[in-house]
């Protein structure tokens, strides 16, 4: 359920690399339980912002709070309370399905009973129980993506960051993946997602669009389409980012 309770607060976030301004005074809030789409052209500054919000890079200035923790002083706390998944980095190919889950359970500091219960539940949901001793490298891409997402929320984080999670998968898998996202939202997890598929932007509760380091639009897909007099999010994006 979407509330107006912010789980991410960003105020005047600036990130500079030398004289280059990657994030130019970003301000926005992400509410608990929503699917927040973070869009923008390549090079608009999305990855830089995500890295800061995940506690992997420190901002030049501004105030940011993620899952109740400060991005300057409490990055370790942030990391414990979020999940992260991208298309590029997912799982260890040489480990089995089960070993990957156990590894991440350990990284997240879950206790054994908790981890075992979640593992059983997850393998069952993904219909992967029969494959739990297979090496990740032997699995089709679509299975890996779904597994990577499930592992990213294994420890029941407050927020999960998804950086282009569905690139390259077939259309059926892409929809199954979004069903997993909706299920996570039903459990109260907030989803922060970037994508180049504009139809996926329609699935978000709210969408922000970045251009040249700034947020140039932020609203529900419905309102954005109205505001830009566009039939779909693809048109909105083209009007804004071109």
């Amino acid at each position: 359920m979407i509330t107006k309770e912010p789980v991410i607060t960003v105020k005047n976030m600036v990130k500079k690399f030398g004289s280059f301004v990657a994030n130019d005074n970003l301000s926005f809030e992400v509410y608990k339980g929503e699917i927040f789409g973070f869009l923008g052209a390549n090079g608009a500054g999305k990855t830089t912002a995500i890295r800061i919000l995940c506690g992997l890079s420190s901002p030049t200035s501004g105030q940011m709070n993620v899952a109740g923790f400060d991005v300057y002083r409490q990055t370790e706390k942030i990391k414990q309370n979020i999940g992260y998944m991208s298309q590029k980095f997912s799982l260890y190919e040489d480990l089995t399905v089960y070993e990957n889950i156990r590894f991440y359970g350990g990284v997240y500091g879950m206790n054994i009973a908790d981890r075992k219960a979640r593992t059983t539940e997850m393998l069952d949901r993904l219909e992967l129980t029969a494959y739990k001793n297979r090496k990740i490298g032997d699995l089709p891409l679509g299975w890996k993506q779904k597994l990577a997402f499930s592992i990213a929320i294994l420890h029941n984080p407050k927020i999960v960051f998804l950086d282009e999670p569905t690139g390259g998968v077939d259309p059926i898998t892409r929809r199954q993946f979004w069903n997993l996202i909706y299920e996570a939202v039903e459990k109260g997890i907030t989803v922060f997602v970037t994508t180049h598929y504009m139809d996926e932007a329609e699935y978000c509760d709210r969408v922000s669009i970045m251009a040249d380091g700034r947020i140039v639009a932020l609203d529900t897909p419905e309102k954005l389409k109205e505001q830009y007099n566009a039939a779909n999010m693809d048109e909105v994006f083209l009007k804004i980012a071109r």
Partner: protein
């Protein structure tokens, strides 16, 4: 003085028909994994042909075979009449290739990369500049920058320029738009259209179904198997079941309810609406509306609609799964 004429369509043309690319029963296997399952297709001269499918479908294997970079385990393929196995040296002179992964020299500058590719093919930048002018002009201000230091979009433009600089008859592009934002993707397709107008035959692969409409003809490929080859329009027309657009405020719950619809084939979200597929003649707007009403879905609308390429792909995928 005899000048080597590397690219001369008339001379290299030993092809009687109009097929620039001819693929016949191509088979490729990696261990037990079948990458291409007896694939046959042909691409006409001057055609913009799209190979559409997800990662692992076999798109790259097919392109590498056509580029003579990979040997097939069975079948044959020719490029403008030249066999890709026996005439591989000639094949390479008449084709331009842009692999999926950035494969230029990162330590050379933009201009050095371009000059290198021109020289390897026995030509000069000046000679074929008109072909790349539109594209190269956009990166020319950075011509002294090392290729490794370019942004994604600029790398892509340089790679395309390098693939074109020897005036190929056939251009093979492996997922040029993957991971590229919607605006740059649109610009890239506009560039391809202009190249096509210059008479270049183009084979391009993509995992984005919405790019199908930019192609003259497309092949839908999944797990090494060609599911369909036709114009995008013909493919949509040949959609064999009924398709309904369901509009709802709550996509996910409504989709869940529709999952219980009797004799349902599939229900998928396509953007802000649901696409519901049912067997031809089985349902009507009334029967679906009534079903939704019984499930307390009151704020919904149902109407018949035309399929998209994505719907076609999903249906063909499901048909294949239920057969195997």
């Amino acid at each position: 003085m005899v000048r080597l004429n590397w690219v001369c369509p008339e001379k290299s043309n030993s092809n009687s028909g109009s097929n620039m690319i001819e693929v016949k029963d191509i088979h490729k296997q990696y261990g037990d994994t079948v990458a291409l399952e007896k694939i046959s297709l042909s691409v006409d001269k001057g055609e913009l042909f799209g190979l559409i499918g997800p990662d692992g479908a076999g798109k790259t294997s097919l392109m590498r075979i056509l580029m003579s970079l990979l040997l097939p385990d069975g079948g044959s393929a020719s490029m403008n009449g030249l066999d890709v196995v026996t005439d591989y040296k000639k094949v390479r002179t008449i084709t331009g290739y842009m692999p999926g992964r950035f494969s230029l020299y990162p330590d050379l500058t933009v201009e050095e990369n371009l000059r290198f590719f021109a020289t390897v093919f026995g030509t000069t930048i000046q000679e074929n500049y008109h072909l790349i002018k539109d594209i190269y002009q956009q990166i020319e201000p950075f011509k002294t920058r090392r290729a490794g230091k370019l942004s994604g979009g600029m790398k892509q433009k340089l790679a395309l320029s390098c693939a074109l600089i020897h005036k190929p008859e056939i251009l093979i592009l492996d997922e040029p738009t993957t991971g590229v934002d919607a605006v740059s993707r649109k610009e890239f397709w506009e560039m391809l259209k202009r190249l096509k107008e210059m008479g270049i035959t183009i084979l391009v692969s993509t995992p984005y179904m919405d790019e199908a409409s930019m192609c003259d003809r497309i092949a839908l490929i999944q797990e090494g198997h060609l599911m369909s080859v036709a114009t995008p329009q013909a493919m949509i027309k040949a959609f064999s079941e009924d398709l309904w657009v369901v509009r709802t405020k709550k996509i996910y719950p409504t989709a869940k309810h529709l999952g219980q619809l009797p004799s349902l084939i599939s229900v998928n979200s396509i953007g802000q609406v649901l696409h519901l597929v049912t067997p031809r003649g089985k349902h009507s707007v009334e029967s679906i509306s009534q079903f939704l009403f019984q499930n307390d879905e009151t704020e919904v609308s149902v109407e018949p609609a035309e399929a998209t390429i994505e719907d076609v792909f999903i249906l063909l995928m499901n048909n294949r799964k239920s057969k195997s």
